[in-house]
Structure formats: C-alpha cells, structure tokens
C-alpha cells in the first residue's frame, strides 16, 4: 500500500510544486509590499469598523489585521479550489478517463484504494500549505525590521497551516461526491457550489444576526481568519468539527465507492433493477 501511496504522491508532485509556489506568490507579495503602504493602512481604521468588514473578518488597520484579511482569509478559499479539483479528479476523474478499471482489478480492497487517495490528497494539501506558509513566514522575516507587529514568522506559518482541516474537509467532501456522482463534472460542480455557498454563507450569517442560528451549516464558519486567530491559533472545538466533517465525508466516500458499479457512471439510486422489480 505504501508503494501505491508513493505513486499517488508522485502523480501529484507537479501539482504540489505548482500550487505551492503559485499560492506562495500571493502572501509573498502581500506581506512583502506592506511596508510601502503601512502608513496609509492606518487611515482605514474608521472604514474597517463597518459591519460588513467585521463580518468578513476584514480589518486592514495594522499588520495583523492586514495579513489576516488578505492572506489568511483568501488562501483557504483558493486552496479549496485545489481540493475540489483533486478530490473529484482522483476517483471520479480516473473513472471518467478509464484508468480506474486497471487499478481496481488489482487484488486491493476498494476501501484501501479510497484510503490511499484520501491520504495522498491530505499530504498534498499539507505540502502545498507548507510551501505557501514558509514563503509567507520567510517574507515576514525579510521585512521584520520595517513592521511593528506581535505576529512572528512562526505565528504566520502556523496560522496558514491551520487552514488544513478546512481544506481537507472540502477535499473529502469532493472525494465523496466523486464516488456518488455519475461523473467528475457533476461532482465538481456540486463541490464548487458547496465551497462558494460555504464561504458566502459564513460571511452572510456573520453580518445578519437573525441568521446566526444557521452559521454552523457553513464550513468557513469553523475557520477563524481574524488577526486574533493568527496570534492565538484556532479554537480546538472548531478544528475538531472540521476534522469530523472530513472523517464523515471519507466514510461516505468509502461506502459509496464500495457499492459503486465502476465504469457505469450512474447515481446510486440508478442502479440496475430487474424488470419485475421495476414494475415492468
């Protein structure tokens, strides 16, 4: 199984480097350019008191708020896109392009195949985040003397890494959707809607008090992208919720892949029925 896992990681090698460096560019630019407009950011204090910005966790007054509002807030959203692409591509995509037939004809239980794919996706997300976080942390070290902040390079590194449970949850949801949907395209569409609705829903419920009771429906609610979290870390309860969601989605992926008629491309409820049973 280890060999299959290594092979899966080898397949993702290009994506890990590409996405890691691509995402890395984002915090490097945002953090690196901060000293050049730090003074201007101070004047945003009043505007940032508006409810909409507070609800979205955006407060650009001060370095901590600026980093949280830009880097910490957006990198999980972007990385969730990779989680959707890879999560739906790893089983549903391989089934669509015919490669899965050779893999499942090996003497390996199906649950192990799902497990290997899930672990490979999880490791890929860790590595992409590690490259990105390291880029951000090193940039902060480079500009350290020009910025007044309590946030250390380690805080920044860990703050970005802490989005892993969130993106992993989206990855597992995508994997599960891939095992239950007729095609990767459909699974990808649903998973994308889940990510977008989760992000917007989380922001919306943060702004409208009457909607607070349903904020738990949106996964982004369980990831704190504020400056406070950057310094103090994520709440353990929220992390556990995200990990539980990932675990449940993984369990569902195993279940649906176990019963799946591979190569057929159908919803679970469209499984074949004898004419008698179908009432024909």
């Amino acid at each position: 199984m280890l060999r299959l896992l290594l092979q899966e990681l080898r397949f993702r090698r290009g994506a890990i480097i590409g996405w890691g460096l691509g995402l890395c560019f984002f915090p490097v630019v945002y953090v690196g350019l901060y000293p050049s407009f730090a003074e201007q950011m101070e004047s945003f204090n009043e505007i940032m008191d508006l409810a909409i910005y507070q609800a979205m966790g955006i407060n650009m007054a001060g370095f901590e708020g600026y980093v949280a509002s830009t880097v910490t807030n957006l990198i999980p959203v972007i990385l969730a896109v990779y989680a959707v692409i890879n999560g739906t591509g790893t089983l549903a995509g391989e089934e669509d392009n015919g490669r899965l037939e050779l893999i499942i004809s090996l003497p390996i239980p199906r649950w192990q195949i799902v497990a290997v794919k899930a672990v490979a996706l999880g490791v890929a997300l860790v590595l992409i985040l590690a490259i990105t976080s390291a880029g951000a942390a090193l940039t902060l070290v480079a500009i350290g003397g020009q910025v007044e902040t309590n946030v250390t390079a380690v805080d920044l590194f860990l703050g970005l890494m802490s989005s892993w449970p969130l993106v992993m949850a989206f990855g597992m949801i995508s994997l599960f959707l891939g095992t239950g949907s007729p095609s990767r395209r459909i699974a990808g569409m649903i998973a994308t809607v889940v990510v977008v609705v989760s992000y917007l829903g989380s922001n919306l419920t943060g702004m409208i008090t009457s909607l607070e009771s349903i904020e738990w429906l949106f996964l982004f609610h369980f990831f704190d992208a504020t400056a406070e979290a950057l310094e103090n870390g994520q709440q353990l309860g929220n992390v556990l919720v995200l990990l539980a969601v990932a675990l449940v989605a993984f369990g569902l992926a195993v279940f649906f892949f176990q019963i799946r008629d591979v190569t057929v491309g159908a919803w679970p409820w469209q499984r074949g029925r004898m004419p008698e049973a179908a009432g024909e």
Partner: protein, 302 residues
Amino acid sequence: MTGYAIETHGLSVYYGRHRGILDVDLRVEQGEVFGFLGPNGAGKTTTQRVLMDIIRPTAGEARVFGRDCQKDGVAIRDQVGYLPGELAFYDSMKARRFFRMYASLQKGNRDPGYWQTLSDRLELDTSRKIGQLSRGNKQKLGVVTAFMSKPDLLILDEPTTGLDPLVQQTVMELVREANQAGATVFFSSHILPEVQAVCDRVGIIRDGQLVATEGVEDLMTQHFKRVRLCFATTPPDDAFTQEGVTVLARDGQGITLEIRQDLDKVMAAAAALGITDIETIPVSLEEIFLAYYGKGNGGGNA
C-alpha cells in the same frame, strides 16, 4: 469449491432499465481456453467486468475458482490477469515504471520481472512515457499487464485489438503458452480465426443472452454442414427440396448443399439419384457465428 474456473448462474446485469446481460449460465473449466463471441453491445464486456467485481450483478451469481466474485473479489483478483477492453494508463509514467508499480501491487505475482520478458517478446519499448506510445503499443502494454503475474486465470477483452498481424500471432502464442502452463483463458474477440485456432470451447452471446456454448470442433461439425454431391446424371431441380436443406450451387452433375438437419434424408435422396462422389466443405467459425446472428447463407434458424 467447484472444478470450474468460471461459473455463473442466472447472471443478469441491468444498467438502470437497460439490459446488459440476462440469465447467463456459463461454465468455464479449469485449464481450458474459452472464447467469448458476440457483436458489440452483446454483453461480453459486462460479463467480464462482473467477474472482476468492477460492476455488480443485478441478479444471479458469479464465481471464479468456486469463490463468490463480490465477497471474495480481492482473493480472486490475486489469481487473475485482466485486460480491459477500454485501456487507459497514466500517460506521464514510463512503461517500465508502470510495470514495476503494478507488479509490486500484485500479491500473487510469481515472477516480478516477467514483464520484461513479455515486453521483449512483444517488442515494447518500456523506456518511453506511456503517453508517447501508439495505440498498438498501449495495447501491448495492456497485454503485458494481464500476463505479467503468471495468473491462474486470464480474462482478456479483445486482446489483439489494434495490433498488427505479427503481434497478434505473438499474443496468441502467449495465450497457448499460458494455457500449457496450466492457466485458464477466457477471452472475447471479434477475430474468429484466432478463436478457432486457440480455443477449446466458445460461448456465443447475443442481445445479452448466452445462445450457445460448445466445443469449437463440435460447433463446426454439428451446427450445419456443407457438402458437394456428384451424380452420374444431372439431378432434378426439386431433388433436395427438404426442410433444413439449402441449395447453394449447381454445376452440371454436381450440387452444393447446406444441411441443417440429419444427413439421413439427404443421403437417402442422393442414393436414389445415383451418387458418385461426396465432398465435405469446411465451414469456418465465422460462418457459424454469422449464422447465429442470421447473417450467413440461409442463416437465421440458429
């Protein structure tokens, strides 16, 4: 544990409400080469995918070496080499890396380096990336993948598709050699001469239903016969107007008949006319196959 390598009872697969196969009762004995014939969409691939537990039956059961294909799928696949009909690989991998990876995942692989021998025989360049290989070379890759573990059972879906005649011959040699080494071979094909050349028995599937399972020789001798009879004088036009007899040709005192009934009546009529010579004309498996599908000479009653 039965003595059959493959055994299905009332095996049916429906795709939604569309029939894949219906009530297929199939038995492939251990150590035989079994050809599975049928046109596109008849149900050959569906049957093979059920045996590999890639899709699940709607009704009935399928067993390989006495084991249930669903419950014991892992143990079964450990003994089986499979060549899918629709091949797809990881294009960015080199062929040899693919073989090494695949061999390492086959618990029952008796000779992890055998892929190299097979690749050499098929003249497959394993140093190239799979995405750079031609369709024929990808087919060779699939053939090597199926044979490389020296399995007890080979399930091959049209193994010679896309290969040139020389390589087709090599693949058929591999089938014979594997069979001589004790392997059972279950393969579907559209190339009937190769089925005729290597198979002990064939099954013919039509519209999802198994319509015949017979030894190749039996099928060819029993299904219908073609004879040329010569007489001392020209036989009358209505001399062989009988149920199950078709006159294919006349030339002077000779007449060529296709006979789908007992020979007795025909021979009795021929004897009464003063027969001087009988010649049996070989019937190819292809003609029998076409007859089963109502496309052969005078076919349609199969």
